[in-house]
């Protein structure tokens, strides 16, 4: 508590003076993990009928704090009060009994079950004799959905409904169990801009009816747009709390990061050269053998960043994998510097100068139990100077590692520690350093800033722009619309395995991109060149409800 109050002296936020009792009071919560204090003396209050944003970078301790409230972690110190009564929450069942519900970032739904079945799971209404009363379940769900304006189809199976609706099912699940306080863990990460707006409306309607919401996020804009109050965490500590309307994005960013942050990206004007990557009518199947890419065509020229915007699961992963030789194309061409490299093995593409920052650094980009030095040579260990005949010259490997650590400012005690022991941001620096150090012709960067804090994001963005200014071709795939818009020289929108539009960042608005991403078509005309080239735009009407 003292820490929170102390930070207020900087003149930023004033602590809300409220006469009502908070629903949830978390007092001086401390959670220690081996080697790290995840929550350090954190205090947090939630009042009835408010939306509290819990803001912080990745690793700031937001989710840990909420897991304490939901009974998943036991705090080493501190106290939780619900409606003023001290409580002990040993597991999620205790939390649910106390009226706390949590919607996790990754939904916990059973795909082949219906919406109603998922909602009542675990607390199913039964007839006399113990038979499941599905009619009552459906009725209850319909009632609940009407009451809070959460539109769902109780009969639909989870696997057939949109991500937005799945999220509503998760919220209904919590409400069905009598939640008074809803914890939403990064609820907007999987949504289109339009769905985010809908979610905001739902959240408003919930708090109007007396619910309280804790909304975990690292997106400043959403804090400003949605929340009533905000609590900021940095490195496990509460660095401020107060009313949203008294603050600005810049101020929040500074609190979150601990220093001044430049939110915009400065770019040199684009100077394009020859076409480096030319993808023509590319088809590929996804992991479930269903078509995932349905005739994708585009070019990337030297000196430009082409961004691909889209909602998760619309073929981005498959596109990247097909371009980097990790997935078979069923048809189509991938020309790199004029050579067709479709269905080449990954090494052939590496040899052709294609660098790849994979979306999943821990499972693909790095070998976590290898040392930093060993990870730096993952894609060129077989070539001199590292390989000498059958031998690997570890002296050169280590020297190389020390150079890259220096150049890319990787924070590590030495090049000899397993990369697993580095923070996420530094792990990503290892990947970026490795991929950029090979002097690539083409860089395919797939969600290069996923899960990174603001400082590391700035770093990656600067490096990408530097590559572009050096005349490299860059294909950027990102789920963060802001990232695509601020870095790209051209933006392609992918929807259901097809490129459905092309825009420049100047002419694009988030609204238009959002519509395209959701399968609608833009109000303004699409880029004509793109349209002729691919000839595959979805002309169907917008599918948004």
């Amino acid at each position: 508590m003292q820490r929170c109050l102390a930070s207020l002296e900087r003149g930023f936020l004033t602590l809300e003076v409220s006469t009502s009792t908070p629903v949830v009071e978390m007092r001086t919560i401390t959670v220690r993990f081996p080697g790290v204090i995840a929550n350090d003396n954190v205090t947090l209050d939630v009042y009835p009928g408010e939306i509290l944003a819990l803001l912080g970078e990745n690793g700031a301790g937001k989710t840990t704090l909420m897991n304490v409230l939901y009974g998943l972690y036991k705090p080493d110190e501190g106290e939780i009060r619900i409606h003023g009564q001290p409580v002990s929450i040993a597991n999620p069942n205790d939390a649910i009994k106390l009226g706390i519900g949590m919607v996790h970032q990754h939904f916990m739904l059973i795909a082949p079950f219906t919406v109603a079945e998922n909602i009542v799971l675990g607390v199913e209404p039964v007839n006399v004799g113990g038979k499941l009363d599905m009619d009552k379940a459906i009725h209850d769900v319909e009632e609940l959905s009407k009451q809070y304006g959460l539109v769902v189809d109780p009969h639909a199976r989870i696997e057939t409904i949109s991500v937005g609706m799945q999220q509503r099912v998760e919220i209904l699940k919590a409400l069905y169990r009598g939640a008074e306080v809803l914890i939403l863990d990064e609820p907007t990460a999987v949504l289109t801009p339009q769905e985010v707006d809908e979610l905001a409306v739902i959240m408003r309607s919930l708090v109007r009816q007396g619910k309280s919401i804790i909304f975990i996020t690292h997106k400043l804009r959403e804090v400003i747009a949605i929340s009533d109050r905000v609590t900021v965490l940095r490195r496990g500590k509460c660095v401020g709390t107060g009313e949203t309307e008294n603050t600005t994005q810049e101020e929040l960013a500074q609190m979150m990061v601990g220093r001044k942050v430049v939110l915009s990206v400065d770019k040199e004007p684009v100077k394009t050269g020859d076409t480096v990557l030319s993808v023509q009518n590319l088809h590929a199947r996804g992991s479930r053998k269903l078509p995932a890419l349905k005739g994708v065509s585009f070019d990337v020229k030297a000196g430009e960043i082409v961004g691909i915007a889209g909602i998760e699961g619309n073929g981005q992963s498959e596109l990247v994998e097909t371009l980097t030789g990790l997935r078979k194309a069923t048809s189509g061409h991938i020309y790199v510097n004029g050579t067709n490299l479709a269905n080449s093995n990954p090494r052939a593409l590496i040899e052709e100068g294609v660098a790849h920052i994979p979306e999943d650094r821990q499972n693909r980009g790095l070998i976590l139990d290898f040392t930093v030095a060993e990870n730096f040579i993952l894609r060129n260990y077989y070539k001199p100077p590292f390989a000498q005949g059958i031998n690997l010259d570890y002296r050169k490997v280590h020297a190389h590692a020390r150079e890259l650590i220096e150049e890319f400012d990787v924070r590590t005690p030495s090049e000899n520690v397993p990369v697993r022991s580095l923070s996420g941001g530094n792990q990503q620096k290892v990947v970026v350093a490795r991929e950029l150090s090979g002097e690539p012709q083409l860089l395919i960067a797939s969600q290069p800033t996923r899960g990174l804090d603001v400082g590391a994001i700035e770093f990656v963005h600067r490096r990408l722009l530097a590559q572009r200014d050096q005349g490299k071709a860059i294909l950027l795939i990102s789920l963060e619309l802001e990232e695509v818009m601020s870095l790209s020289d051209r933006i392609l929108v992918i929807y259901e395995g097809q490129i459905v539009g092309e825009m420049t960042p100047d002419e694009a608005t988030e609204g238009e991109l959002g519509l395209l991403m959701a399968g609608g078509h833009a109000k303004r005309g699409l880029h004509s060149e793109g349209s002729e080239q691919s000839g595959q735009f979805r002309q169907g009407s917008a599918e948004l409800p």
């Binding site: 220690r32 993990f33 081996p34 080697g35 204090i37 080493d76 980097t324 990790l326 093995n345 990954p346 090494r347 590496i350 790849h356 994979p358 499972n363 693909r364 980009g365 790095l366 070998i367 976590l368 139990d369 290898f370 060993e374 040579i377 993952l378 894609r379 260990y381 077989y382 590292f386 390989a387 059958i390 031998n391 690997l392 570890y394 924070r411 590590t412 005690p413 030495s414 000899n416 520690v417 397993p418 022991s421």
Partner: protein
């Protein structure tokens, strides 16, 4: 606890955490052996004997005389090879339960080359027979490796099946084409020129031990100093990242299985050329291959760890015989001790958690102290 000094300079806290993990890693096998010996002592007490007498007899049996030491080392030799075999496959993320079958194939083929060729000088015949055994083991493992790499057939199932095929195939060979004339199902004796040299006068200790030590070094070098070793460890740690790095995962799986099998085959070859000088019909699995799994596990899949673990297991097995004959303590106690070691090492998460929570508690205390200092 040991901390690995050179990492400490830049970020002490960070490096300490890693070195603690490493220390735990090294500590677990030691603790496992200690606990198992303790349990063994209680068992001995339980049957009304003196644990001191038991372990005394064990040590005497293993190291009491030149001959005892030689016999112990003869026991250790095949375990080094099979331990290396299993450890090598583990490094590529494969579980080669088929070392037993590869051992059998190595043994019978080495014996066959050993007895069937005549009139060759030792410098040719001996290495030829040894390498033929290793090659047979390697080919026997290459098949499950190939099936795993190309068709995704699980190597555990496959290598188990291959064990039985090897066992029954050896029956066929030793009762059919390789059979020595006479009533006993066995091959003829290996030619003198193919036998491994004796290396300690007055004992049976043979050159196989030197070969095994060479194999330890070779496996170490291969895994940690060559590009192939880098690839194999990459595939074993994270096949997705290996593939992303341009490594052919399927090729490496086949290579790793073949090398693993060759090591197990070499174990069989040294038994045939150094100890038995022929192949005797098997009534069942001898167990060197299966013991290799335990040795690899206890040795943390590191060649040097395997060497230590094989020495321990070989010593226990040899000492158990004396323990039974002199101290009248059933040698099955040793079996229980070995099994306990394996269980503790396999369930190392229990120990690890114990160490972690203790070290976390210590650290928390330290940091709480620091916190007070900074608090003002």
């Amino acid at each position: 606890m040991a901390n690995f000094g050179k990492d400490l300079q830049n970020s002490p806290k960070h490096a300490l955490r890693i070195s603690r993990e490493q220390a735990i890693e090294l500590f677990i096998p030691v603790v496992a052996v200690f606990l198992a010996l303790l349990l063994g002592a209680f068992l001995v007490l339980f049957i009304g004997k003196s644990p001191l007498a038991a372990y005394g007899a064990l040590l005497k049996g293993a190291f009491g005389s030149k001959r005892d030491i030689a016999e112990t080392l003869i026991n250790v030799t095949p375990l080094i090879f099979t331990g290396l075999s299993v450890a090598f496959s583990f490094k590529c993320g494969l579980f080669n339960i088929g070392a037993e079958g590869q051992f059998i194939m190595g043994q019978i083929i080495a014996a066959w080359i050993g007895y069937s060729l005549a009139g060759m000088p030792t410098v040719i015949h001996m290495p030829l027979a040894f390498l033929a055994g290793a090659l047979a083991g390697g080919l026997w493992a290459a098949l499950p490796g190939y099936l795993k790499a190309k068709l995704g057939v699980h190597e555990v199932i496959n290598t188990i099946m291959m064990n039985y095929i090897a066992l029954y195939f050896s029956h066929y060979l030793v009762m059919g084409p390789f059979k020595e004339p006479g009533p006993i199902p066995q091959t003829p004796q290996v030619a003198e020129a193919a036998r491994l040299w004796k290396i300690l006068p007055g004992t049976r200790l043979h050159f196989g031990l030197i070969l095994a030590l060479g194999a330890v070094w070779l496996v170490y070098y291969l895994l940690f100093k060559t590009t192939l070793g880098y690839e194999i460890r990459a595939v074993g740690n994270n096949p997705h990242a290996a593939r992303y790095g341009g490594i052919s995962v399927s090729k490496d799986i086949i290579i790793a299985m073949s090398i693993s099998g060759a090591l197990a085959g070499a174990a069989g070859a040294v038994q045939a050329l150094g100890v038995q000088f022929r192949f005797l019909d098997l009534f069942g699995f001898i167990g060197y291959g299966f013991d290799g799994i335990a040795v690899a596990l206890l040795g943390r899949n590191h060649p040097f760890g395997v060497l230590i673990a094989a020495t321990l297991f070989g010593t226990l097995a040899r000492g158990a015989i004396t323990m039974q004959s002199i101290a009248k303590i059933p040698k099955q106690i040793i079996g229980i001790i070995q099994a306990t070691i394996v269980i503790i090492v396999a369930a190392d998460e229990i120990l690890r958690r114990f160490f972690r929570s203790r070290s976390a508690a210590t650290q928390a205390l330290t940091e709480a102290g620091e916190g007070e200092d900074n608090g003002e």
